[in-house]
């Protein structure tokens, strides 16, 4: 489906993602990134028509945690603003729909997450069915390991291939100054079979921000806007028992609706925190071998929870801004074993 209005990502900023950020509050972590995207476009807070953020109270350990971030944005005089308790990629989706209505021409989107204060493996178990599954505390690595085992059993991959995904991602991250892991990582011991340390994402803190603009406004503010040609997201059943973990029909459907299969892409930024998940996504997205997958290093190099999806869109857009991509796919995921998936297709003007 072709959107009724042209909307582009015109600026992207992210923190250096780190294992801990004890010295910073969420707001302090976020502020430099907000200023970075505003400075890059020359916009002031008062020029932004709509603001939307993504975060989760469960990482912050308190209710209404996003209200403090709002203070940091500088919501005075009052602003038109909203928040999703989801990865920032979905905040971007909400902002995109707002721009489509014509009620706004520019939008600021941001996301932040600090995993360091607690055990993110334990925290994420609270996403599961609260009556039947969550009381058993199956953690995110264990669930991903189930998926990896299903893939290996199906003959879709093997452990050396997974190690290859890990080393390629971290080698790519060497060129990304924001990444948390920027050099080869030993595959290490099993965390939960068949996943080894190297197959798992680093735990870290970070924030990111994006500015969207519609039509001519995008051209005024950005030399080469990354036009959102399509964006769609789909969710699957929650219970792992009713899903084929070797496939991702929601990613395929979202990609189809976003127009990803209309023409080949040259770049794909995939939100695959585990090596095995890249195998699933590559298949669902029918990515050709010549597509540059996760040139940023992807979530295996930095996985700030609630931010990593927005970073994928930002990284894809930044490559278009720089002229190193003409048509890029960005993907974000949420929930256990790729339950919910978002796909955006970004394009630069022809050169």
């Amino acid at each position: 489906m072709r959107p009724i209005r042209d909307v582009a990502v015109i600026a992207f900023g992210q923190t250096d993602h780190r294992r801990t950020s004890d010295d910073l509050s969420e707001v302090e972590m976020l502020m430099p990134v907000l200023h970075e995207v505003l400075d890059r476009t020359g916009l002031k807070t008062s020029d932004i028509d709509f603001t939307c953020s993504g975060s989760t109270d469960y990482l912050a350990g308190r209710a209404f945690s996003f209200t403090m971030a709002l203070d940091g944005v500088g919501a005075w005089p009052p602003i038109s603003e909203s928040h999703v308790e989801m990865d920032g990629a979905w905040a971007l989706y909400e902002a995109w729909t707002k721009l489509l209505t014509g009620d706004a021409d520019t939008a600021l989107v941001y996301a932040y997450g600090k995993s360091s204060p607690g055990s993110v493996r334990d925290v994420l178990t609270r996403q599961l069915d609260p009556y039947y599954v969550a009381p058993l505390w199956p953690d995110s690595v264990a669930l991903a390991a189930l998926q990896a085992r299903a893939l290996i059993d199906a003959g879709d991959t093997d452990e050396p291939a997974l190690a290859g995904v890990a080393s390629r991602s971290r080698a790519s991250a060497a060129a990304n100054s924001h990444a948390q892991l920027r050099s080869p990582v030993d595959q290490g011991d099993y965390v939960v079979r068949p996943l080894r340390t190297g197959d798992c994402p680093p735990v870290g803190d970070g924030a990111a921000a994006v500015i969207l603009a519609a039509g001519e406004r995008a051209r005024e503010l950005c030399e080469r806007p990354a036009w959102i040609r399509g964006i769609d997201h789909r969710i699957e059943a929650h219970s792992l028992g009713v899903r084929d973990l070797t496939d991702s029909p929601s990613t395929r459907l979202a990609a189809e609706r976003a127009g990803a299969f209309d023409r080949p892409v040259d770049t794909a930024e995939l939100h695959a925190p585990f090596t095995s998940q890249e195998v699933v996504l590559r298949k669902a997205l029918r990515l050709a071998d010549d597509v540059d997958v996760n040139p940023s290093g992807g979530a295996l190099a930095a996985n700030p929870v609630m931010v990593a999806g927005l970073v994928r869109i930002g990284e894809a857009a930044a490559r278009i801004h720089r002229g190193t991509s003409d048509r890029a796919l960005a993907h974000a995921t949420s929930g256990p074993c790729l339950q919910q998936n978002l796909v955006a297709v970004l394009e630069g003007d022809p050169r």
Partner: protein
């Protein structure tokens, strides 16, 4: 390029109660969604996307519950968004869903908001201590009571006004089969004699803790044409936010609320809200917020809101009925409370409000707020399609 007109063609609520021990969270939300579908005479297959909202995840202890609720809400294979904007979330959720239709992304959208407060303890959920930050002072009442006191000082309102609002809303609730509190023996004297909780707020002037869900079906012009019952048409909708605490904040009449209302009135072509709007469902968790919001929303001049309340204007048979459903004072599943306001506004202009129907209601405002009076969301719905 113009927006697609948006219509409400289905509304569903659960009977709100202190504890729904007979259903899971999934069972609760599904009940409201099915009633909305039945009202619209649609099936799950007719729904293109689902937008849900609720207040903090800590209230039930489920992180990002849209993941677990996907199956119960028929969302498998569809887009699903989860909105969270504190107490205003029910309204914001409806507006996010509205944009999906107005921006022509989807034709028909299910939007739903809920809270199942009996699963946990909302007071604890709000009271997690954070270093270097002011605690919320014994729950929401402790935070808002000084602002009520400031209103009384500023306007000279007599201290009887709050009890009038509570007495009115609790009587209105008796006409609403879905309302939580049905106090058949309510009297003004009983309200006035109830214990003082946070001076000047008495026990009977506060909202209950409820389990409940509210759902709406939003659709485009083509969908509205197929609606078996009269649709409610969206004439204006807006959100505004301002910081929690800062030196320039007017906690009695926040500017974000004024700006939000002004934006809605501009979109809907409302010149004089007092004259042009027939009824209001406003977010009144503590009774004194009725006169305060009457001023904030432009229905009364500054300092005059309490006079409207005192003179009976806001009664169900008054000139500007407020909270015909019984309001938040009678029913408060926190995350759903904003959407209930929006949904009740839609029921009124559709002529579907039953015993608490206001005769001839053509344009009705739904209002929600949250946080420390910092998040506002509102919509104005009408019986006629928007002209532009």
């Amino acid at each position: 390029m113009s927006k697609e007109p948006v219509a409400v063609v289905g509304v569903g609520q659960t009977k709100h109660v202190a504890a729904r021990r007979d259903v899971s969270i999934a069972g609760l939300v599904r009940e409201a969604a099915r009633r909305a579908l039945a009202d619209a005479e649609l099936t799950w297959a007719d729904i293109d996307a689902v937008v849900i909202g609720k207040a903090p995840d800590f209230f039930e202890g489920v992180m990002m519950p849209e993941l677990y609720l996907a199956d119960a809400l028929g969302a498998v294979g569809k887009p699903m968004l989860r909105v969270h904007t504190a107490g205003s979330v029910g309204g914001s959720t409806a507006l996010v869903a509205t944009n999906l239709v107005a921006g022509r992304v989807h034709g028909t959208v299910l939007t739903l908001a809920y809270e199942k407060q009996s699963e946990s303890n909302a007071m604890w959920g709000l009271s997690l201590p954070i270093p270097f930050q002011q605690p919320l002072l014994a729950g929401a009442g402790g935070f808002f009571a000084p602002h009520v006191r400031a209103y009384m000082r500023r306007t000279g309102a007599p201290d009887t006004v709050g009890s009038l609002v509570a007495y009115k809303d609790r009587r209105n609730a008796l006409k609403n089969p879905y309302a939580h509190l049905h106090e058949h023996d309510i009297t003004l004297e009983k309200v006035q004699a109830s214990p003082m909780l946070w001076d000047p707020i008495r026990y009977s002037e506060t909202c209950p803790s409820s389990d409940g869900a509210c759902a709406m079906i939003l659709t485009d012009r083509a969908g509205a044409a197929r609606s078996p019952r009269p649709p409610a048409w969206l004439h204006g909708g807006a959100m505004r936010s301002e910081p929690t605490l800062f030196a320039g904040k007017d906690c009695v009449s926040p500017r974000a609320g004024k700006d939000c209302a002004a934006d809605v009135y501009r979109q809907a072509g409302i010149a004089d809200p007092r004259r042009d709007i027939d009824a209001v469902e406003m977010y009144v968790p503590f009774s004194w917020y009725e006169p305060m919001w009457l001023e904030n929303l432009g229905f009364a001049d500054e300092g005059e809101g309490w006079k409207l309340t005192e003179s009976g204007v806001t009664e169900l048979d008054g000139d500007l009925p407020v909270n015909m459903s019984g309001g938040v004072l009678s029913t408060n599943p926190i995350g759903a409370s904003g959407m209930i306001r929006f949904a009740e506004a839609a029921l009124q202009v559709r002529g579907q409000a039953g015993e608490h129907q206001v005769e001839g209601a053509r344009r009705v405002l739904g209002h929600a707020y949250g946080g420390g009076s910092q998040f506002f969301s509102m919509w104005l719905v009408g019986a006629e399609p928007p002209s532009s």
